[in-house]
């Protein structure tokens, strides 16, 4: 088996299976009547948890490559990002359908009036834009530079998601802070890389001038 077949026939199916695991488990719980007396809340929390987790997993790919040098992982970055969007879609649909029963007026009121829903919706809009522009053809159409600029918005989503989670909870709760902390580390890594690259170009320019 060469590298490409192994990627397509072993690793990719494994990633798909792992990424669909939470959904399969959710369906299994539902079939077993395990949602409790408020199924909408259960499904909404569950899919929200996984949306945030996949977003952070997708954001961990680049640092993982940088630290381990494992180039292969980059092949799953888009896939993992799309799964984050997939769970966001389930999360938002469960809110619209199961929680609000399609009361669009009330939903709009929520979006404009409730900051934590505004923040959550911001993350959803960003991830939607990124998902829509994720095919390779779109990269070509937009041009690499524009595409990259747009996709930097994922950093905003990475902050918005834990903030949305933190604001939704009552009292001082640790779980959203853990996600926020992980997001912070993943962004700090990028900031570090950026600063070092900048310093290097400055040094190179200085070298060029003295030479």
């Amino acid at each position: 088996m060469n590298k490409e077949t192994r990627l397509n026939w072993v690793f990719k199916p494994l990633v798909h299976a792992a990424a669909l695991g939470p959904l399969v488990w959710l369906i299994w719980l539902g079939l077993g009547g395990q949602f409790g007396p408020n199924p909408a809340e259960f499904i909404n929390r569950y899919t929200g948890d996984w949306a945030i987790r996949f977003l952070l997993i997708a954001l961990a790919v680049t640092p993982l490559r940088g630290i381990t040098g494992l180039a292969l992982v980059m092949r799953f970055r888009r896939l993992l990002g799309l799964y984050a969007f997939f769970y966001v879609l389930l999360h938002v649909s469960s809110y619209v359908a199961l929680d609000q029963y399609f009361a669009w007026g009330a939903i709009w009121q929520d979006i404009v009036k409730r900051t934590y829903i505004t923040v959550g919706m911001l993350a959803m809009v960003i991830l939607t834009a990124l998902a829509v522009t994720s095919p390779k053809a779109m990269v070509k159409k937009m041009g690499g530079r524009n595409w990259q600029r747009l996709h930097k918005l994922v950093y905003v989503a990475a902050i918005a998601a834990p903030v949305h989670f933190f604001m939704m909870r009552k009292g001082f709760q640790i779980e959203p802070l853990v996600y926020g902390g992980i997001a912070g580390l993943l962004l700090a890594y990028r900031a570090g890389v950026w600063i070092r690259a900048k310093a290097r170009t400055r040094a190179a320019r200085a070298d060029a001038q003295t030479a």
């Binding site: 199924p39 909408a40 009552k170």
Partner: protein, 331 residues
């Protein structure tokens, strides 16, 4: 409606058990043997102890059905015992709705004493059996509205708080009653995290505490209170958001000033001292205009959504207490 008041039994102070003996009564009883029983009689029991309302075997508990606060008059079926006991908030046992049921199983509720202090003529540490009399227990079906915009219809078993307070003779300085939940991180894993300032604190204005609606609940659905619902004794203030109905009470203090409450300390912008159910005053993060009725499902098996009622439908009984108050300011 006729409210019968049981006559109080005035006891000369000479007959009152010294506090030191009372606090230590279990050891005293053991030392003295049965002969010491009479000497350590609870405060207001005229004769030998009546049958304790807390069954030693099984969980059955009953109360006199209330002529007004029942399912027929309310017009909605109570949520099942399973729903009531598996879906609730009790942060001392975890943050998920199912956590209390999962983690409160071993919570020890016997023996249980409540300390009464402050502006009151009969302070002391009372055994729960001395505060709650079996014959006083009523069966009342109330609406229960959580601040998170869900609600339930619940058949509580309990005694009007006013009945208990009257026996304790608060002084004229008692303007508020302050309550605390037990603090026991060994048994309550949630108290090992700083979610709120522990122990849980709550309070009521004296007229709210004396309102005939306010209950000290010791059971639900024909059973002694399940641990996860605030056993062995909790408050039920049906016109206020659920978090006002403090659970597993160990302290009642009669005070002159408005006491701090856990949620108002944690976030005073979102949770006020009064916290009356009010569909017109939104929580800063969500609307309070409607609620999901847990336990009452639509054809898809999902809880129905219905408009929230002013004072949770108890306007007639409680609105007069807040006459002239700006409920937007005193939320």
């Amino acid at each position: 409606m006729i409210i019968r008041q049981r006559p109080l039994h005035p006891i000369p102070s000479s007959e009152i058990t010294p506090k030191s003996v009372f606090d230590d009564r279990r050891r005293v009883l053991k030392t003295l043997g049965f002969g010491g029983l009479a000497a350590t009689m609870p405060l207001w029991l005229p004769g030998p102890a009546e049958a304790a309302w807390r069954p030693t075997e099984g969980k059955a508990l009953s109360g006199t059905p209330h002529p007004k606060y029942n399912a027929q008059v309310l017009g909605q079926e109570p949520a099942s015992l399973e729903v009531v006991s598996t879906y609730n908030n009790f942060y001392e046992f975890g943050l998920g709705k199912g956590d209390p049921a999962e983690h409160a199983g071993k919570f020890k509720t016997t023996p249980w004493t409540i300390k009464v202090e402050g502006a009151v003529e009969k302070p002391g540490t009372y055994d729960i059996d001395d505060l709650i009399k079996a014959e006083d227990i009523e069966d009342r079906v109330y609406r229960f509205r959580c601040v998170e915009a869900w609600s339930m219809v619940v058949p509580w078993l309990g005694v009007p708080l006013a009945k208990v307070i009257k026996r304790l003779n608060p002084t004229s300085k008692a303007k508020y009653v302050y309550f605390e939940t037990v603090f026991d991180p060994d048994q309550m894993p949630g108290q090992r995290r700083p979610t709120l300032e522990w122990p849980y604190k709550e309070g009521l204005r004296m007229d709210e505490a004396m309102n005939p609606l306010t209950l000290l609940a010791v059971g639900v659905h024909g059973q002694v209170m399940p641990n996860q619902n605030g056993a062995p004794i909790r408050l039920i203030v049906p016109w206020k958001y659920g978090f006002k109905s403090i659970k597993s009470i160990v302290l009642m203090r009669f005070v002159e000033k408005e006491p701090p409450t856990s949620w108002s300390v944690a976030n005073g912008r979102e949770y006020g001292f009064y916290s009356n159910v009010n569909p017109n005053v939104s929580h800063p993060r969500w609307s309070q205009a409607t609620e999901k009725k847990i336990g009452l499902n639509n054809i898809f098996g999902l809880p129905i959504r219905q408009p929230t009622l002013m004072f949770n439908g108890y306007e007639e009984e409680v609105a007069a207490m807040y006459a002239g108050m700006d409920l937007r300011k005193f939320f």
